[in-house]
Protein backbone atom coordinates (compact mmCIF):
# COMPACT_ATOMS: atom_id res chain seq x y z
CA UNK A 1 0.00 0.00 0.00
CA UNK A 2 2.75 2.38 1.01
CA UNK A 3 4.59 1.66 -2.19
CA UNK A 4 1.57 2.60 -4.28
CA UNK A 5 1.20 5.88 -2.42
CA UNK A 6 4.82 6.66 -3.14
CA UNK A 7 4.11 6.41 -6.87
CA UNK A 8 1.05 8.64 -6.84
CA UNK A 9 3.00 11.89 -7.44
CA UNK A 10 4.81 10.32 -10.39
CA UNK A 11 1.54 9.07 -11.88
CA UNK A 12 -0.07 12.49 -11.41
CA UNK A 13 2.94 14.18 -12.98
CA UNK A 14 2.85 11.92 -16.02
CA UNK A 15 -0.91 12.41 -16.40
CA UNK A 16 -0.54 16.19 -16.21
CA UNK A 17 2.33 16.02 -18.67
CA UNK A 18 0.22 14.12 -21.17
CA UNK A 19 -2.67 16.57 -20.84
CA UNK A 20 -0.43 19.61 -21.27
CA UNK A 21 1.44 18.01 -24.16
CA UNK A 22 -1.82 17.40 -25.97
CA UNK A 23 -2.74 21.02 -25.30
CA UNK A 24 0.25 22.11 -27.36
CA UNK A 25 -1.28 20.55 -30.45
CA UNK A 26 -4.64 22.33 -30.05
CA UNK A 27 -5.35 25.43 -32.05
CA UNK A 28 -6.10 28.27 -29.62
CA UNK A 29 -7.64 30.31 -32.46
CA UNK A 30 -10.33 27.73 -32.93
CA UNK A 31 -13.56 28.65 -31.28
CA UNK A 32 -16.77 26.77 -31.71
CA UNK A 33 -19.27 28.92 -33.51
CA UNK A 34 -22.27 29.89 -31.48
CA UNK A 35 -24.30 30.20 -34.65
CA UNK A 36 -24.15 26.69 -36.03
CA UNK A 37 -27.65 25.27 -35.85
CA UNK A 38 -29.18 28.72 -35.58
CA UNK A 39 -31.35 30.38 -38.14
CA UNK A 40 -29.76 32.92 -40.43
CA UNK A 41 -30.20 36.25 -38.60
CA UNK A 42 -32.55 38.82 -40.02
CA UNK A 43 -31.10 41.89 -41.68
CA UNK A 44 -31.95 44.78 -43.95
CA UNK A 45 -29.03 46.03 -46.01
CA UNK A 46 -28.45 47.29 -49.51
CA UNK A 47 -27.10 45.33 -52.40
CA UNK A 48 -23.49 46.10 -53.16
CA UNK A 49 -23.85 46.76 -56.88
CA UNK A 50 -27.37 48.19 -56.68
CA UNK A 51 -27.37 50.69 -53.81
CA UNK A 52 -31.10 51.25 -54.07
CA UNK A 53 -32.06 47.60 -53.69
CA UNK A 54 -32.75 46.56 -50.12
CA UNK A 55 -31.95 42.99 -49.23
CA UNK A 56 -33.16 40.81 -46.41
CA UNK A 57 -32.43 37.24 -45.44
CA UNK A 58 -35.30 36.23 -47.75
CA UNK A 59 -33.25 37.28 -50.76
CA UNK A 60 -30.85 34.44 -50.12
CA UNK A 61 -32.51 31.69 -52.10
CA UNK A 62 -31.30 28.27 -53.13
CA UNK A 63 -31.22 24.82 -51.63
CA UNK A 64 -27.67 25.04 -50.37
CA UNK A 65 -26.34 28.51 -49.84
CA UNK A 66 -22.83 29.70 -49.17
CA UNK A 67 -22.42 33.12 -47.65
CA UNK A 68 -18.88 34.33 -48.11
CA UNK A 69 -17.67 37.27 -46.03
CA UNK A 70 -15.19 39.31 -48.02
CA UNK A 71 -13.61 42.72 -48.41
CA UNK A 72 -11.15 44.41 -50.70
CA UNK A 73 -8.90 45.03 -47.71
CA UNK A 74 -8.65 41.34 -46.98
CA UNK A 75 -5.58 39.63 -48.38
CA UNK A 76 -6.84 36.06 -48.15
CA UNK A 77 -10.02 36.97 -49.99
CA UNK A 78 -7.89 37.40 -53.08
CA UNK A 79 -6.29 34.04 -52.43
CA UNK A 80 -9.60 32.22 -52.21
CA UNK A 81 -11.21 34.14 -55.06
CA UNK A 82 -10.36 31.70 -57.91
CA UNK A 83 -11.71 28.82 -55.81
CA UNK A 84 -14.94 30.73 -55.25
CA UNK A 85 -15.26 31.27 -58.99
CA UNK A 86 -14.92 27.52 -59.51
CA UNK A 87 -17.45 26.79 -56.77
CA UNK A 88 -19.96 29.23 -58.24
CA UNK A 89 -19.54 27.70 -61.68
CA UNK A 90 -20.06 24.18 -60.38
CA UNK A 91 -23.67 25.17 -59.66
CA UNK A 92 -23.91 22.87 -56.66
CA UNK A 93 -24.39 25.73 -54.27
CA UNK A 94 -25.76 29.25 -54.41
CA UNK A 95 -22.87 31.54 -53.57
CA UNK A 96 -23.65 34.88 -51.95
CA UNK A 97 -21.22 37.53 -50.82
CA UNK A 98 -21.22 39.66 -47.71
CA UNK A 99 -19.07 42.68 -48.42
CA UNK A 100 -17.81 43.38 -44.93
CA UNK A 101 -16.61 46.79 -43.74
CA UNK A 102 -15.63 47.99 -47.14
CA UNK A 103 -16.03 50.90 -49.51
CA UNK A 104 -18.76 50.41 -52.08
CA UNK A 105 -16.79 51.81 -55.03
CA UNK A 106 -13.66 49.87 -54.15
CA UNK A 107 -15.65 46.68 -53.81
CA UNK A 108 -17.45 47.19 -57.12
CA UNK A 109 -14.12 47.84 -58.79
CA UNK A 110 -12.68 44.69 -57.22
CA UNK A 111 -15.49 42.59 -58.64
CA UNK A 112 -14.97 44.21 -62.04
CA UNK A 113 -11.20 43.70 -61.99
CA UNK A 114 -11.35 40.08 -61.02
CA UNK A 115 -14.60 38.30 -61.55
CA UNK A 116 -17.86 38.39 -59.65
CA UNK A 117 -18.54 34.88 -58.40
CA UNK A 118 -21.51 35.92 -56.27
CA UNK A 119 -25.17 35.82 -57.16
CA UNK A 120 -25.26 39.06 -55.26
CA UNK A 121 -23.30 40.74 -52.53
CA UNK A 122 -24.77 42.28 -49.42
CA UNK A 123 -23.16 45.60 -48.55
CA UNK A 124 -22.38 45.83 -44.84
CA UNK A 125 -20.09 48.84 -44.35
CA UNK A 126 -20.45 48.96 -40.56
CA UNK A 127 -20.18 45.24 -40.01
CA UNK A 128 -23.66 45.07 -38.47
CA UNK A 129 -24.65 41.80 -40.06
CA UNK A 130 -21.10 40.68 -39.36
CA UNK A 131 -21.72 41.06 -35.63
CA UNK A 132 -25.05 39.25 -35.94
CA UNK A 133 -23.17 36.39 -37.57
CA UNK A 134 -20.30 36.43 -35.10
CA UNK A 135 -17.82 37.36 -37.79
CA UNK A 136 -14.40 38.27 -36.46
CA UNK A 137 -12.58 38.96 -39.73
CA UNK A 138 -12.71 38.10 -43.38
CA UNK A 139 -12.72 35.67 -45.06
CA UNK A 140 -15.35 33.56 -43.39
CA UNK A 141 -17.88 31.34 -45.08
CA UNK A 142 -21.23 30.13 -43.81
CA UNK A 143 -23.14 27.16 -45.17
CA UNK A 144 -26.89 27.69 -44.95
CA UNK A 145 -29.37 24.90 -45.65
CA UNK A 146 -32.66 25.06 -47.53
CA UNK A 147 -34.58 25.96 -44.37
CA UNK A 148 -32.32 28.88 -43.60
CA UNK A 149 -30.32 27.27 -40.81
CA UNK A 150 -26.59 27.83 -40.56
CA UNK A 151 -24.93 24.44 -40.76
CA UNK A 152 -21.28 25.36 -40.73
CA UNK A 153 -18.99 28.29 -40.30
CA UNK A 154 -15.54 28.24 -41.80
CA UNK A 155 -13.00 30.81 -40.66
CA UNK A 156 -10.20 31.52 -43.10
CA UNK A 157 -9.82 31.11 -46.82
CA UNK A 158 -11.27 28.30 -48.89
CA UNK A 159 -8.95 26.38 -51.15
CA UNK A 160 -9.02 23.00 -52.83
CA UNK A 161 -8.11 21.08 -49.70
CA UNK A 162 -10.49 22.93 -47.38
CA UNK A 163 -13.26 22.49 -49.94
CA UNK A 164 -12.54 18.79 -50.25
CA UNK A 165 -12.18 18.08 -46.53
CA UNK A 166 -14.64 20.43 -44.91
CA UNK A 167 -17.26 21.58 -47.38
CA UNK A 168 -17.88 18.66 -49.69
CA UNK A 169 -18.85 16.16 -46.97
CA UNK A 170 -21.41 18.61 -45.58
CA UNK A 171 -22.74 19.49 -49.03
CA UNK A 172 -23.17 15.80 -49.79
CA UNK A 173 -25.09 15.39 -46.54
CA UNK A 174 -27.28 18.35 -47.39
CA UNK A 175 -27.94 17.01 -50.87
CA UNK A 176 -28.99 13.69 -49.35
CA UNK A 177 -31.28 15.51 -46.92
CA UNK A 178 -32.88 17.31 -49.84
CA UNK A 179 -33.43 14.09 -51.73
CA UNK A 180 -34.94 12.55 -48.61
CA UNK A 181 -37.41 15.41 -48.38
CA UNK A 182 -38.46 15.33 -52.02
CA UNK A 183 -38.87 11.57 -52.37
Amino acid sequence: MNKIIRFIPLILFVALGIILYRGLALNPQHMPSALVGQKMPEFVLTQLLKPKVMLTEKNLVGDIKLLNVWGTWCVYCKYEHPYLVDIAQSGRVALYGLNYKDDRDDAAQWLKDYQDPYRLSIFDPLGKLGIELGVTAAPETFVIDSKGFIRMKHVGPIDGKVWQDKFLPLIETLEKELKGVSS
Binding site: M31, P32, K101, I131, G134, T136
Partner: protein, 151 residues
Protein backbone atom coordinates in the same frame (compact mmCIF):
# COMPACT_ATOMS: atom_id res chain seq x y z
CA UNK B 1 2.55 80.85 -53.97
CA UNK B 2 4.64 79.53 -51.14
CA UNK B 3 2.34 81.16 -48.64
CA UNK B 4 -0.66 79.74 -50.39
CA UNK B 5 0.71 76.21 -50.11
CA UNK B 6 1.54 76.73 -46.47
CA UNK B 7 -1.93 78.08 -45.82
CA UNK B 8 -3.58 75.17 -47.60
CA UNK B 9 -1.45 72.66 -45.71
CA UNK B 10 -2.26 74.42 -42.49
CA UNK B 11 -5.97 74.29 -43.22
CA UNK B 12 -5.81 70.63 -44.16
CA UNK B 13 -4.58 69.68 -40.72
CA UNK B 14 -7.96 70.61 -39.36
CA UNK B 15 -9.72 68.02 -41.45
CA UNK B 16 -7.92 65.13 -39.78
CA UNK B 17 -10.56 63.05 -38.15
CA UNK B 18 -10.04 60.98 -35.08
CA UNK B 19 -12.63 58.32 -35.74
CA UNK B 20 -10.46 55.51 -34.45
CA UNK B 21 -10.40 56.59 -30.86
CA UNK B 22 -13.72 55.97 -29.21
CA UNK B 23 -15.17 59.16 -27.90
CA UNK B 24 -18.49 57.99 -26.65
CA UNK B 25 -20.51 60.48 -24.72
CA UNK B 26 -22.54 58.98 -21.92
CA UNK B 27 -25.70 60.38 -20.43
CA UNK B 28 -24.65 59.64 -16.92
CA UNK B 29 -21.76 58.35 -14.91
CA UNK B 30 -23.35 55.02 -14.10
CA UNK B 31 -23.67 54.11 -17.78
CA UNK B 32 -20.06 55.05 -18.32
CA UNK B 33 -18.92 52.83 -15.46
CA UNK B 34 -21.08 49.99 -16.78
CA UNK B 35 -19.56 50.47 -20.23
CA UNK B 36 -16.03 50.37 -18.83
CA UNK B 37 -16.75 47.23 -16.80
CA UNK B 38 -18.36 45.47 -19.75
CA UNK B 39 -15.53 46.15 -22.20
CA UNK B 40 -13.10 44.89 -19.57
CA UNK B 41 -15.03 41.68 -18.94
CA UNK B 42 -15.71 40.85 -22.56
CA UNK B 43 -12.93 39.18 -24.46
CA UNK B 44 -12.01 40.20 -27.97
CA UNK B 45 -12.98 37.25 -30.18
CA UNK B 46 -10.15 37.73 -32.64
CA UNK B 47 -7.25 38.42 -30.33
CA UNK B 48 -6.26 35.74 -27.90
CA UNK B 49 -5.70 37.39 -24.58
CA UNK B 50 -7.09 40.85 -24.74
CA UNK B 51 -10.38 42.25 -23.67
CA UNK B 52 -12.42 44.63 -25.77
CA UNK B 53 -11.01 47.63 -23.96
CA UNK B 54 -7.38 46.78 -24.67
CA UNK B 55 -7.60 45.62 -28.23
CA UNK B 56 -7.03 47.77 -31.28
CA UNK B 57 -8.41 45.24 -33.71
CA UNK B 58 -11.32 46.43 -35.87
CA UNK B 59 -13.65 43.80 -34.49
CA UNK B 60 -12.97 44.98 -30.92
CA UNK B 61 -13.77 48.54 -31.96
CA UNK B 62 -17.01 47.36 -33.56
CA UNK B 63 -17.99 45.42 -30.48
CA UNK B 64 -17.23 48.40 -28.24
CA UNK B 65 -19.55 50.44 -30.43
CA UNK B 66 -22.13 47.69 -30.15
CA UNK B 67 -21.84 47.67 -26.35
CA UNK B 68 -22.25 51.44 -26.34
CA UNK B 69 -25.30 51.29 -28.58
CA UNK B 70 -26.90 48.54 -26.52
CA UNK B 71 -26.35 50.60 -23.38
CA UNK B 72 -27.95 53.55 -25.13
CA UNK B 73 -30.93 51.36 -25.94
CA UNK B 74 -31.30 50.74 -22.23
CA UNK B 75 -30.26 47.09 -22.26
CA UNK B 76 -29.14 45.54 -19.00
CA UNK B 77 -25.63 44.19 -18.48
CA UNK B 78 -26.95 40.65 -18.59
CA UNK B 79 -28.71 41.27 -21.88
CA UNK B 80 -25.55 42.71 -23.41
CA UNK B 81 -23.45 39.77 -22.25
CA UNK B 82 -26.05 37.37 -23.63
CA UNK B 83 -26.05 39.27 -26.91
CA UNK B 84 -22.31 38.67 -27.25
CA UNK B 85 -22.45 35.04 -26.13
CA UNK B 86 -25.22 34.32 -28.61
CA UNK B 87 -23.06 35.54 -31.46
CA UNK B 88 -19.52 34.77 -30.43
CA UNK B 89 -19.97 31.95 -27.96
CA UNK B 90 -18.74 31.50 -24.41
CA UNK B 91 -15.30 32.40 -25.69
CA UNK B 92 -16.04 36.09 -25.15
CA UNK B 93 -16.52 35.69 -21.42
CA UNK B 94 -13.54 36.09 -19.15
CA UNK B 95 -15.71 34.71 -16.38
CA UNK B 96 -17.24 31.64 -17.99
CA UNK B 97 -20.69 30.55 -16.96
CA UNK B 98 -20.99 27.51 -14.72
CA UNK B 99 -21.78 24.55 -16.95
CA UNK B 100 -20.73 20.94 -17.27
CA UNK B 101 -17.88 22.16 -19.48
CA UNK B 102 -16.52 24.54 -16.88
CA UNK B 103 -17.04 22.55 -13.67
CA UNK B 104 -13.34 21.70 -13.57
CA UNK B 105 -12.50 25.36 -13.93
CA UNK B 106 -14.86 26.52 -11.22
CA UNK B 107 -14.59 23.73 -8.68
CA UNK B 108 -11.18 22.21 -9.51
CA UNK B 109 -9.17 24.55 -7.29
CA UNK B 110 -11.52 24.06 -4.33
CA UNK B 111 -11.33 20.29 -4.81
CA UNK B 112 -7.53 20.37 -4.89
CA UNK B 113 -7.50 22.49 -1.73
CA UNK B 114 -9.80 19.99 -0.04
CA UNK B 115 -7.53 17.11 -1.00
CA UNK B 116 -4.57 19.05 0.36
CA UNK B 117 -6.35 19.70 3.67
CA UNK B 118 -7.27 16.01 3.98
CA UNK B 119 -3.67 14.94 3.35
CA UNK B 120 -2.30 17.41 5.89
CA UNK B 121 -4.84 16.37 8.52
CA UNK B 122 -4.01 12.72 7.91
CA UNK B 123 -0.31 13.37 8.35
CA UNK B 124 -0.82 15.42 11.50
CA UNK B 125 -3.14 12.87 13.08
CA UNK B 126 -0.67 10.07 12.59
CA UNK B 127 0.89 9.21 15.95
CA UNK B 128 4.61 9.69 15.94
CA UNK B 129 6.37 6.35 15.79
CA UNK B 130 8.01 5.57 19.10
CA UNK B 131 11.69 5.51 18.76
CA UNK B 132 13.52 2.37 19.73
CA UNK B 133 16.40 3.15 21.96
CA UNK B 134 19.45 1.43 20.75
CA UNK B 135 22.03 0.54 23.27
CA UNK B 136 25.56 0.08 22.16
CA UNK B 137 27.40 -2.92 23.32
CA UNK B 138 30.66 -2.55 25.17
CA UNK B 139 32.59 -3.61 22.11
CA UNK B 140 30.86 -1.04 19.90
CA UNK B 141 31.51 1.69 22.43
CA UNK B 142 35.21 0.93 22.38
CA UNK B 143 35.23 0.89 18.62
CA UNK B 144 33.49 4.27 18.49
CA UNK B 145 35.93 5.77 20.93
CA UNK B 146 38.78 4.38 18.88
CA UNK B 147 37.40 5.92 15.66
CA UNK B 148 36.91 9.30 17.28
CA UNK B 149 40.35 9.19 18.72
CA UNK B 150 41.94 8.35 15.37
CA UNK B 151 40.35 11.37 13.91
Amino acid sequence: MKYLIITVLFLLTFSISAWETDTYVFHDEVTEIRYKTLVKELRCPKCQNQNLADSNSPIAADLRREVFELLEQGKSDGEIVNFMVKRYGEFVLYRPQVSSLTYVLWFGPALLLLIGVIVVVQILRKKPVEKETVVLSEEQKNKLAQILKDK
